[in-house]
Amino acid sequence: MNSAGMRFTVLQRLLHWLMAVCILAMLFIGVGMVSTVMPKYVVLLATHKTLGIAILVLALVRLGVRARYGSPPLPADLPVPMKLAARLSHYALYAIMIGMPLIGWAMMSAGAYPVVLYGSIHLPAILPRSASLHALLWNAHFYLAFAFFALILLHLAAALFHALIRRDGVFESMAPVPSHDETAPVE
């Protein structure tokens, strides 16, 4: 199997797996921090803000890289509904990766909270102070977080379905290291 065109570029794979770790950590920190009153709450909240902005930056970089390098084609024999599901779920993932940090940042701004990251980095407010905007954005942030997690579980299940059942090279196209099948001569 020729790797050119069949796999995402090294940069894309690096960004994917780095963001996978960041986003999973982010979702776990989010549900963990809002359900605790222990001293770790303060650390979790600071980490949540910093990691959120890091994810926003990474997602924007990744969108640019994707526009530049594209993606390997889906297998020709993949049923049309699955192709559609793959395409739509990826649009949703990009939208939510970029949208969630922005909603969180806007929510903090509307709530008149200072937005301070690790290293005492201050971010400006991106919305005027408003209780009703805060409530709207809080609800969006809360419900989208669960939608995001559900989408990630779906993404994980689909990736494993390609890897273990269809064995069609889709999983290998994003695998961090070339799999055994791929390095073995195909002839």
Partner: protein, 355 residues
């Protein structure tokens, strides 16, 4: 080849099962982290819910310290605090202040004389964009030693069983000192005559990175005129807000900010224990309250006076309360900002009209 097909479907079933297990484990870990599998975990929701009176929370209002009035003014820093903390607010100069005098009650219409504990929310802004927020109260120490004990106190106070409170006091003997204070400390008839204490300890970090564990207080410069609770009650249900509005309109009111530094071995993690007298105290400046505004549409209403919003040079200590308060205050803030439409109704009730 039926044999091969059978093998293949067997393998597919195994793979599907493996996928289900992997997805299930991730989802389960998420549910555990969210506390859905741990009903005993003390959550901010539990604390906030337990603050509500039997008739339910006052929608749109803070879940505790619900009755209050906004103020603005200045923190005049004298520069003495700079040796303890590199926070810009301790450099000699003037810093804008936003705050809120309040009563420790979940009822925004409570009669003043029925509320023993008074508080102050405070936000000092520095030129470098850093903010220092705090929520202080007037007793000299906190009623209980831990956030869990605070929750147990709330639960016991709602419990119809008369033995619940006895059992609580038995388990948390530190509460007796608070009861003693509540019964014996004189009342005042003015927010301007009360001291406001951080009670919780914080860590000040100086220019060379040295750490100092401190507590701090705002001590009134106004003359303190003690009154009995009965005499105070005669002044009316909303005397404090009327009085402070009147007093500040005649002259700014001032408090000295005094920072007390812990000695090694002092109970820095337990705000129910006052530190022994004789600790080094540094007067770092003066809070000047210049203007009073009603909470409704006032500048303090939509501010969460979260005591973990600290400038560079101040950090949380081993005291577990600021984190617990931050978590619970955020919950209260999230709830009340989603109840904005109810807030004016409460105000109309306060001025006599029925919603």
């Amino acid at each position: 080849m039926p044999g091969l097909a059978g093998q293949s479907s067997h393998r597919t079933f195994g793979s599907l099962a493996l996928i289900a297990v992997i997805v299930g484990v991730v989802a389960g870990a998420f549910a555990y982290t969210a506390g859905w599998l741990s009903p005993d975990r003390l959550t901010p929701t539990k604390i906030v819910d337990s603050l509500a009176p039997a008739t339910g929370p006052a929608l749109g209002h803070r879940r505790n310290h619900a009755k209050g009035i906004c103020f603005t003014g200045t923190f005049e820093s004298n520069g003495n605090g700079a040796e303890l903390s590199r926070a810009q607010v301790f450099s000699r100069g003037q810093y804008p202040v936003l705050g809120r005098f309040n009563l420790a009650t979940p009822d925004p219409e409570a009669q003043d004389a029925t509320v023993r504990v008074r508080g102050m929310g405070l936000q000092i802004s520095a030129k470098d964009g850093e903010q220092w927020r705090a929520a202080l109260i007037d007793p000299p120490f906190f009623p209980v030693a831990t956030p869990v004990a605070f929750y147990e106190l709330l639960e016991a106070s709602h419990n119809k069983d008369p033995d619940a409170m006895k059992a609580f006091v038995g388990k948390h003997p530190e509460f007796a000192a608070f009861v003693e204070w509540a019964q014996s400390a004189p009342w005042t008839a003015s927010y301007a005559e009360d001291p406001y204490n951080s009670l919780d300890s914080f860590v000040f970090i100086d220019n060379s990175g040295g750490e100092h564990v401190v507590r701090w207080s705002l001590l009134p410069e106004a003359e303190i005129v003690p009154v009995t609770n009965a005499d105070f009650a005669k002044l009316g249900p909303d005397h404090l807000e009327q009085e402070i509005t009147d007093r500040v309109s005649k002259a700014p009111q001032r408090w000295t900010m005094a920072v007390t530094v812990a000695d090694p071995g002092d109970p820095t993690a337990d705000p129910s224990k006052a530190w022994p007298s004789g600790r080094r105290t540094v007067e770092v400046g003066t809070l000047v309250v210049q203007k009073i505004e009603a909470e409704r549409d006032g500048p303090c209403r939509d501010i969460n006076f979260d005591p973990t919003i600290l400038p560079k040079g101040i950090e949380v200590s081993d005291d577990p309360f600021p984190a617990a308060r931050s978590s619970a205050y955020a919950k209260s803030y999230d709830l009340r900002t989603s109840e904005v439409k109810y807030y004016p109704h409460q105000q109309q009730t306060a001025t006599g009209a029925q919603p």
